[in-house]
């Protein structure tokens, strides 16, 4: 079996659950955050550092890896795990999203995504079959179907309908082309943008397929948060509870907490490592921009409660001195930011298992919003799964 998923504990009030996802390379504890290592590396960190940070599964990008080092090299070495010396689990995307977002000239037809190579200008066609062929070669534990990507804030309903239905047709082609079903699991991607009818239809169609898990895609692309959460909720409502659900492109702390409550098991986002590059360290209340002058003589660690190697050794003052000048600063903040994400997920998991998840969510939100000025989307989304934040507020 390429994937078995067992739910170990359920929240009881919300849809949150703690699970164990057994993959060929590693047993992954959910809910899980998956840091993104685009080109077969995680922003200057060694694989042993990622292991020390408790990363159990990381992401690679098919589009980039297919270009460099290329499938020939990956085939020869026996897959990405060996190439990058990472022995735990991997997930790859389908490459379609990158193509559409990176390459303005991409053209999508029933056959696939046609685009001009940024390397030599030649015309290339990425079909569902081709995407799976590359992903089979990369050899990640979980791989993604090629989906028809439309910008999240796109309005034309005919196009959204076409994309949603095409995504389902492409899923069949992906499953058919898959040559390593015993070692790799294809996740279908629920599409439909912000149209709940299409989304429900997409999820229901995917449910009928013989797959080991699902992804919820087409969100986190600039839509209003009030539009975002109902689509997540609809996804986790329709998709069955026996298989893991992966919400693509979400990684900000409050979003993670809300979406875990809505029943999501897996997340990925470039945010913690990208923001590190700009000198920003994640803390509960948001970020510290360590470039700011106020940290020049601040002798406290980024987060006094954090046990990462950066916070144990370095002060804000020191990182301030070298931020955006030395690569070391970027490594130090990346370590902390990944530790921050991992710690948050671990804490949620423990609270789900201990039956204290609801209280955790309330405490978490009141720390992030100390004056109880909760955004409506957070109040509404949590209310939909039985957590009343205002109750807390009224008792004061």
């Amino acid at each position: 079996m390429a994937l078995t998923f067992s739910v170990q504990a359920e929240c009881g009030v919300t849809r949150a659950r703690a699970g164990l996802m057994t993959l060929p390379h590693y047993d992954v504890k959910t809910p899980v955050f998956m840091p993104v290592g685009t080109q077969g590396t995680m922003k200057g960190l060694l694989p042993e550092q990622l292991e020390d940070l408790d990363c159990e599964i990381i992401l690679g990008n098919t589009y980039h890896l297919g270009n460099r080092p290329g499938t020939d090299v990956l085939k020869k070495v026996g897959g990405l795990h060996k190439f990058m010396a990472w022995n735990r689990a991997l997930l790859t995307d389908s490459g379609g999203f990158q193509m559409v977002s990176l390459l303005k000239l991409a053209e999508i037809t029933e056959e696939g995504v046609k685009f001009k190579s940024p390397y030599d200008g030649s015309e290339i066609m990425l079909t569902p079959e081709k995407s799976i062929e590359i992903q089979n070669c990369i050899g990640a534990d979980i791989i993604m179907q090629l989906d028809d990507v439309v910008q999240t804030t796109f309005q034309d309903n005919d196009r959204i309908k076409e994309a949603t239905e095409r995504t389902s047709r492409w899923l069949d082609r992906c499953l058919k082309a898959h040559s390593r079903p015993l070692e790799q699991s294809i996740f279908p991607i629920v599409q439909g943008l912000l149209n709940s009818e299409l989304r429900r239809q997409s999820a229901e169609e995917h449910m009928r397929k013989n797959v080991n898990g699902f992804a919820i895609g087409g969100l986190s692309g600039g839509e209003a948060k009030d539009d975002f959460w109902p689509m997540v909720s609809l996804g986790t409502e329709v998709l069955d509870t026996r298989r893991p659900r992966y919400l693509m492109g979400v990684g900000v702390a409050v979003d993670l907490v809300v979406c875990v409550a809505l029943g999501v098991d897996m997340f990925d986002c470039v945010y913690p490592t990208r923001t590190a590059r700009f000198g920003c360290a994640l803390v509960k209340k948001g970020q510290l921009n360590l470039k700011q002058k106020q940290y020049e003589t601040d002798l406290t660690p980024i987060d006094k409660d954090c046990s990462c190697s950066t916070c144990k050794t370095y002060t804000r003052a020191y990182i301030h001195c070298i931020v955006s000048v030395e690569t070391v600063a970027c490594h130090l903040i990346s370590v902390h930011n990944i530790a921050f994400q991992m710690h948050l997920m671990r804490t949620m998991r423990e609270n789900i298992i201990n039956g204290t998840f609801v209280q955790f969510v309330k405490n978490f939100m009141s720390e992030v919003f100390p004056n109880y000025n909760y955004p409506t989307w957070i109040i509404n989304s949590l209310k939909s799964v039985g957590i009343n934040l205002c109750e807390n507020y009224c008792s004061f």
């Binding site: 080109q39 077969g40 590396t41 995680m42 922003k43 200057g44 960190l45 060694l46 694989p47 042993e48 550092q49 980039h64 460099r68 080092p69 020939d72 090299v73 020869k76 070495v77 060996k82 190439f83 990058m84 010396a85 020049e296 003589t297 002798l299 190697s309 950066t310 050794t313 370095y314 002060t315 003052a317 020191y318 301030h320 001195c321 070298i322 000048v325 030395e326 690569t327 070391v328 600063a329 970027c330 490594h331 130090l332 370590v335």
Partner: protein, 434 residues
């Protein structure tokens, strides 16, 4: 800090140890050694966590002010010195004025000041200001401020000025050092300049000797301006200077050579009793995407083992370590193909892995030097390493000539043959090494 020479062998080369560091009195740094070059107080590309995975013992850190002067305010607030501030408290620091691994603009001198070229522009620094900074940085070793960045080709006038300025500044450093409470446990090292003009060098040496009771060491500078051409001095020219300066000075002090010198120069200097080097050569290689692959086994004759340029496409499917016999973290887990991919995609991990290997391997070169000194076989080892450097150098010259070949296909053919000679030879021999 105290320095003892432990073993004087039949030649002038010696094994010594630095000890008595204030924070970790039991720690010892054996010499000859290369310091680890830092930028902004951190070992280039490596966090304290990663560094501790590479070296389990305490190392000497080389801290040039040109890339760390901006730590001043933070250091003042913290008050415990640069090693602690940079999270490297178990290591020792040698603070210097400049980083000879960098090329800086020339000129811009004032009577009692020398220009410090930083990322934030030029700052004119006097000896007094320098010693103020030392009281904040609190290094274990202080290289006195000097006007020493010049090649051996430099004209007489400039050299005379540099000796004058260095002399004056050393006087100030010594006066400040004598009365400084903060620097009681630091070792002050005087800088000798004027190497290109024997009369001026003599003057510099005489002046150094006037302070010999205060100074714990000598640093030889003024051999290069940091440029590639200026670093490429015929070795016999340097050899004469290493010998002359070493002979003119007391034996029991620490002997330091500043500059981005290749292994052939370093081993030559060691043979005249020089103990500490700035280690910037390893950093230079890492930043170029090169990996040093010296063979330390003197019983094996290897012609073209010296370095790999991992930018080269020929490594794209070589799934073997940089150096099969190397025990560093990078070679234990990662391949040439992977590092080549990281270089090709400009990923930061390339610099991390190359730094790990090059620093480790460079350190091993010194470890083997110490072993050979102890067993009186240093001369053989020195020749063994110099031979590798020289055959690489002639190979590289051939490659540069191939580069100018007008017929492109012929050029590619010639080059690939040379590259093949380097890579295959290495790999085979290194396999045999295990």
């Amino acid at each position: 800090m105290r320095f003892f020479t432990k073993k004087l062998s039949s030649g002038s080369e010696r094994v010594g140890s630095m000890t008595g560091f204030l924070k970790t009195p039991s720690a010892v740094v054996e010499t000859p050694t290369a310091a680890l070059l830092t930028q902004g107080g951190s070992v280039v590309h490596l966090t304290a966590d990663v560094l501790s995975r590479v070296f389990s013992d305490s190392k000497l850190l080389w801290v040039p002010l040109s890339n760390s002067a901006h730590l001043e305010n933070g250091l003042k607030a913290q008050g415990k010195g640069v090693a602690q501030f940079a999270g490297l408290q178990e290591h020792f620091t040698c603070v210097t004025f400049q980083n000879m691994n960098e090329v800086t603009p020339s000129g811009h001198f004032e009577v009692d000041k020398v220009p410090l070229w930083t990322k934030h522009g030029k700052k004119m620094i006097s000896a007094d200001r320098y010693m103020d900074l030392m009281e904040v940085f609190k290094p274990d070793i202080i290289l006195a401020i000097a006007d020493s960045r010049m090649s051996l080709e430099e004209g007489y006038k400039r050299i005379a000025k540099s000796v004058d300025r260095t002399t004056k500044m050393l006087n100030t450093c010594v006066e400040r050092y004598k009365v400084s409470k903060e620097l009681q446990n630091s070792c002050l090292v005087g800088v000798v300049v004027g190497c290109a003009q024997s009369r001026k060098l003599e003057e510099s040496l005489q002046h150094f000797l006037r302070h010999k009771d205060i100074l714990g060491g000598v640093a030889l500078s003024g051999l290069t301006d940091g440029t590639e051409e200026s670093n490429d001095v015929p070795i016999d020219k340097l050899e004469a200077i290493f010998e002359k300066v070493s002979n003119a000075l007391p034996k029991d002090i620490l002997h330091v050579v500043e500059g981005c010198w290749n292994p052939a120069v370093i081993l030559t200097a060691i043979s005249y009793g020089w103990d500490v080097f700035d280690g910037s050569y390893a950093v230079k290689l890492s930043n170029l995407g090169h990996a040093l692959i010296l063979n330390f086994d003197v019983t094996r004759d290897m012609k073209s083992s010296y370095l790999l340029d991992l930018n080269d496409e020929c490594y794209k499917d070589q799934f073997v370590p940089i150096l099969e016999s190397c025990e560093c973290l990078a070679c234990e887990k990662h391949t040439r193909a992977y590092i080549r991919h990281l270089l090709n995609t400009r990923e930061m991990l390339a610099s991390v892995l190359l730094s790990i290997h090059n620093l480790y391997h460079f350190d091993q070169m010194f470890y083997h030097a110490r072993q050979h000194i102890l067993t009186n076989t240093f001369e053989v080892y020195k020749k063994h390493i110099i031979k590798q450097y020289e055959s690489y150098r002639s190979l590289k010259l051939e490659m540069d000539i191939a580069e100018t070949e007008p017929d492109h296909s012929l050029q590619v053919k010639k080059k690939s043959k040379l590259v093949e000679e380097v890579t295959n030879n290495n790999y085979k021999v290194n396999c045999n090494n295990i």
